[in-house]
């Protein structure tokens, strides 16, 4: 018997009791929709969290905080060479913090920025974009953070006058001039004895402004210098990074990096890279490790919710079992005639299994469409309800429910499997129908 003809048979049979079939499909659709919508919450929250993590610039980075070695005082150039020799490393960013916040003057404005020496070439190689300008190439050049200008206060102004009664910065008090190409006076202090200090002013040119941080809450008000300038300051103060500390004996000014960030060429390699580095005795940390834990947690949550949802489909399958059993009983005389003519038990079984599968597929399809609609409405409606009820705004791009194709596939497979199982017993019953009893209408 051709598949096309089996389909025709099933269609004709289904037409005979439309209401019963409709109710069965409805129950299956409700079960499938429940499964998908329930699991979509775990998928949605997972997606939101992952998106949030991935949006962080640090996602393909491994941060090195030190070395598990009692004789080591920090990360040296030798360590940097080792990091650079590793596979999957795109760039090694290193930085050293100034131990004092020097006074910076620019066109009548002043600030004491957080100052960091960075490897400009590595930043460029690592793909860190600038908003304006270029990276510094000599020790008298600097770049400033995206929010640096917000820190600049007009000389002699009381900082309290900069803010209105709501604590918001008054726009007119912000530095309005240009930054690129401007020269700043950077004044560094040092202790000449236990109590006295003296100052030195360096003239540096701003050549670049960093790009806006990925997240709104991040502020980049730092001043970035070259390592050569960092060394100049260390030599002037006689302490590493210009630390305000006095000692008669000259201090060891060996250069150590305070923080090293390794950028991987690929997100997938971050975890392997972190493991390699940690195995070598370094203290490395990457967001990828956190991502792994998040993924595991959500996989468990998704599996749990799919399992609970599957129970609804199983309950719906009782309806399919009932419908198919009724269909077999009602059609027993016709089955008897078909068998008498020469229909094999296999053909009879296939027709009934096909019918229950079609009910399952129809239910799964309607359930999936309804789920997408519910998911869409939830994603639109829920933030509005939450905002109205709690007067709290949800983060941008927050997704409460998400239905990936894999979830639809899982729901279809579960639905089809359950309908096949529930249809198999009635189908088997149909094959066992005794021809003579059926022809005598005894069934």
């Amino acid at each position: 018997m051709l598949f096309k003809d089996q389909l025709y048979f099933v269609r004709e049979n289904m037409k005979k009791n439309k209401m019963r079939i409709f109710m069965t499909v409805l129950a299956t659709a409700m079960g499938t929709a429940f499964l998908i919508v329930l699991a979509s919450v775990a998928f949605g929250l997972h997606d939101t969290l992952i998106k949030d993590v991935l949006e962080q610039e640090t996602v393909n980075q491994v941060q090195i905080y030190g070395k598990d070695d009692p004789n080591s005082q920090g990360i040296t150039d030798e360590d940097i060479d080792y990091f650079q020799s590793l596979e999957h490393v795109r760039a090694v960013r290193k930085q050293s913090f100034f131990r004092q916040s020097p006074l910076v003057s620019l066109n009548g404005y002043e600030t004491n920025p957080y100052t960091v020496a960075v490897d400009m070439a590595a930043l460029e190689a690592g793909g860190t974009q600038l908003k304006d300008g270029r990276y510094a190439t000599s020790s008298d050049e600097v770049i400033v953070g995206y929010h640096f200008y917000e820190q600049l206060l007009e000389k002699g102004t009381d900082p309290e006058d900069m803010y209105d009664e709501n604590g918001e910065r008054i726009k007119e008090t912000l530095y309005q001039g240009k930054l690129i190409g401007e020269t700043i006076d950077l004044t560094v202090s040092r202790l000449t004895n236990e109590t006295d200090t003296e100052e030195k002013t360096y003239q540096l040119t701003i050549v670049g402004v960093t790009a806006e941080p990925a997240n709104e809450w991040q502020q980049d008000q730092s001043l970035y210098t070259t390592f050569d300038f960092y060394q100049s300051v260390s030599e002037y103060t006689g302490t590493p990074g210009g630390e305000m500390y006095f000692q008669e004996e000259p201090m060891d000014l060996t250069f150590y990096y305070d923080e090293v960030t390794i950028q991987s060429n690929n997100l997938e390699n971050v975890q392997a890279l972190t493991d390699t580095i940690n195995d070598q005795g370094y203290y490395g940390y990457s967001v990828a490790s956190e991502l792994k834990q998040i993924n595991m947690l959500f996989t468990i949550a998704k599996a749990g919710l799919i399992f609970i949802g599957a129970i609804a489909v199983i309950i719906a399958s009782i309806g399919i079992f009932n419908t198919m059993t009724m269909a077999v009983t009602e059609r027993a005389p016709d089955i008897g005639i078909m068998k008498a003519i020469g229909a094999s038990p296999k053909t009879i079984k296939q027709i009934f299994l096909l019918e229950s599968s079609i009910i399952g597929i129809m239910g799964a399809t309607i359930g999936t469409l309804v789920s997408y609609l519910i998911s869409f409405l939830v994603n639109i409606g829920l933030p509005m309800i939450l905002e109205a009820a709690f007067e709290d705004q949800l983060p941008e791009g927050f997704q409460f429910s998400s239905i990936p194709w894999t979830l639809v596939l899982i729901a279809y497979v579960i639905c089809l499997l359950v309908t096949l199982i529930s249809g198999s017993r009635p189908a088997k019953k149909a094959t066992k129908i005794d021809v003579l009893s059926a022809l005598r209408r005894e069934l």
Partner: protein, 229 residues
């Protein structure tokens, strides 16, 4: 064409501990030649229907052998018999056994569907067969819209449509009036002569028995007489 050897059959009635065994067929042996019309006559309960059901594979054989068209079907499984039936044997039943939700054309088309014949070929064969039994123009009539004689003709067309070698008929005129009975018998005779189809017909009607080349008489599960015409 059909060869039955030492066929015996019994029915078991009642529950396990109170079983009653009723012998229905006892050591029945006979054969039907190709192109022959053989009628099986006898009173009700003589075992003629059981014999036909065993030959048709509707009942599992208990002892003896059945050979159809040179093939021993005695040990066929249900599925094997179904396949064999479809290609070799056609059935005509007393109460027509048509599917009520299908029209005449669909009822005749059914064996072709089961055999996996394409839609175009099906249409040609089914319409041709309906024409052969004189039901041209009745294709779209449902069984409830047809007379008893017409329904039996649909049943004959359904049995004929796959060009079977044998047609087994169980009281084919049992539900018909004398005029339609005559028409049907005429049709059977015609089909036998023109298509060389072998008929094994169960009847207790003398008129039906007359059309056979041979008549086998059954009594209490055994063949007691044979009449060659």
């Amino acid at each position: 064409m059909i060869e039955v050897k030492q066929l015996s059959h019994q029915f078991e009635l009642g529950k396990k501990d109170k079983k009653t065994v009723i012998p229905v067929l006892q050591d029945v042996s006979f054969s039907v030649n190709k192109g022959e019309i053989v009628t099986l006559v006898g009173r009700s309960g003589s075992g003629k229907s059981t014999l036909l059901h065993l030959i048709g594979g509707f009942l599992p054989r208990q002892s003896g052998t059945i050979t159809i068209n040179g093939m021993d079907v005695s040990n066929f499984t249900e599925a094997q018999f179904a396949e064999f039936r479809l290609g070799t044997i056609g059935f005509i039943f007393q109460n027509f056994q048509l599917i009520q939700s299908m029209n005449a054309y669909q009822n005749v088309e059914l064996p072709l569907i089961l055999q996996g014949v394409s839609e175009t070929a099906r249409k040609i064969q089914a319409l041709e067969t309906l024409k052969k039994v004189g039901l041209e123009g009745f294709e779209h009539h449902y069984p409830s819209e047809l007379s008893g004689g017409q329904q039996q003709r649909v049943s004959v067309a359904r049995a004929l449509v796959l060009n079977p070698l044998i047609i087994l008929a169980d009281e084919p005129t049992g539900s018909l009036d004398s005029e339609t009975e005559e028409d049907l018998l005429h049709l059977i005779k015609e089909l036998n002569e023109s298509l060389d189809i072998t008929f094994l017909i169960i009847t207790h009607d003398d008129e039906v028995a007359k059309i056979g080349h041979r008549s086998l008489m059954m009594h209490d599960g055994a063949l007691i007489d044979q009449e060659v015409k």
